[in-house]
Amino acid sequence: MATETHSAADAAAAGPGMPQLDFSTWGNQIFWLVLALIATYLILSRVALPRIGAVLAERQGTITNDIAAAEDLKAKAIEAEAAYDKALLDARAEAQRIVAAAKAEIQADLDVAISKADAEIAAKAAESAKAISEIRASALENVKVVAKDTTKEIVAAMGGKADAKTVTAAVTARMKG
């Protein structure tokens, strides 16, 4: 406003320096302003604001519902996870139980088989020992007979006459030694 450099004629033509203070236009402006405000108010209060408010409320409701549904699903997921964990634990315990049972069964079988085998082995060993002692006895007998025969032959070959009794006594005496 300090830079107003209108010539006098211009100033006269333009009216006051500020068109804002030209009160002759105020009535006109106020009339149209009131119309514009009424129009805006009607547009807003009748159409725009209820509609936008409804959209916002609806969105808020949807979001709330979605969050609730999500929480529900999350709870279900946690539940399912717990059930899964429990099933896993159960299965593991069951498996351990089965393994232990199988082990015990096998051990029992094994014990039975071992004791049976031990008994058999013992029987066989006894039998063998008996056979060995028999063989040994028969062998001694044979040795005695062979020794007597050999002695008789040797004595006969030496030209002597072998007395059976003497021979037997000698062989028996030798075999003891």
């Binding site: 203070l21 009339f31 302003l33 129009a39 725009a48 959209v55 916002l56």
Partner: protein
């Protein structure tokens, strides 16, 4: 902003920063009567159209996932709604359409006024004084209707020491009646000053040496004016809310 034709023949620097605010008949010449369609009328109507386009056409799809226009409409709605609710409380929500009307009209008129060669209705005191007086009268009448004589408690500062209260009452009374003045002059003054400054810089652009500086200055001022356009609409609206709160809850 108005064209700069006359004065060019005088030579040298001639500024007509206020010419852009002249009210002229939109169609043809002649005197401006009460119902003449003027440039002010046209731009007020365009502000109404812009409001309609943004808030009604923008939200016409009622989309759950909003389009860009709908987002802006919802943003404007939420912005003013929250302002009213925060300041005036739940009872103030009833007056939300009224306040939204003021906000949308001022903000649309301000922004449309930033279009080069356009006209800004809110740069005129005739417009802002009516807006401010409407707020003032509404608030005053509402205050008395709602609270009766208790509304006068607004001027009687009960928390102050007794001897001070009459003095404060006078100050409060003066400040109360100054409200519409500051309310209206703040808006029109800001808008007018910004536009006039841009016009002055544009006048300097006639000098070749200065013109680059002038163009930069106009650009900077324009950016500032964009801010001012919104902020002044915001300030006008928030002050309306504050005054409304006084009417609803007059106690300090």
């Amino acid at each position: 902003m108005a064209t700069e034709t006359h004065g060019a023949e005088e030579g040298g620097l001639v500024f007509h920063p206020m010419d852009q605010f002249k009210i002229e008949p939109a169609f043809g010449d002649g005197a401006i009567g009460m119902f003449t369609v003027t440039n002010a009328t046209v731009w007020m109507a365009l502000a109404v159209v812009a409001t309609f386009a943004l808030l009604v056409l923008g939200s016409s799809k009622r989309a759950m996932i909003p389009s860009r226009m709908q987002s802006v409409a919802e943003l404007a709605y939420g912005f003013v709604y929250k302002m009213v609710e925060d300041i005036c409380g739940k009872e103030g929500v009833k007056y939300f359409p009224y306040i939204m009307t003021l906000f949308m009209f001022i903000v649309c008129a301000n922004f449309l006024g930033l279009i080069p060669t356009s006209f800004t209705p809110t740069s005129h005191f005739a417009v802002t004084v009516v807006l401010a007086l409407a707020v003032f009268l509404t608030v005053t009448i509402l205050g008395f209707v709602k609270n009766g004589a208790a509304f006068l408690g607004l001027f009687w500062v009960a928390s102050a020491p007794l001897p001070l209260r009459p003095v404060l009452a006078i100050i409060e009374l003066i400040s109360y009646f100054v409200r519409p003045v500051s309310h209206s002059i703040r808006l029109a003054g800001n808008v007018m000053a910004g536009h006039a400054v841009i016009k002055v810089f544009a006048g300097f652009a006639a000098i070749t040496v200065i013109s680059p500086v002038s163009v930069v200055a106009i650009t900077a001022m324009y950016g500032l004016e964009v801010l001012v356009s919104f902020i002044q609409a915001y300030v006008f609206t928030i002050l309306t809310c504050v005054y409304l709160k006084d009417a609803l809850h007059p106690s300090h």
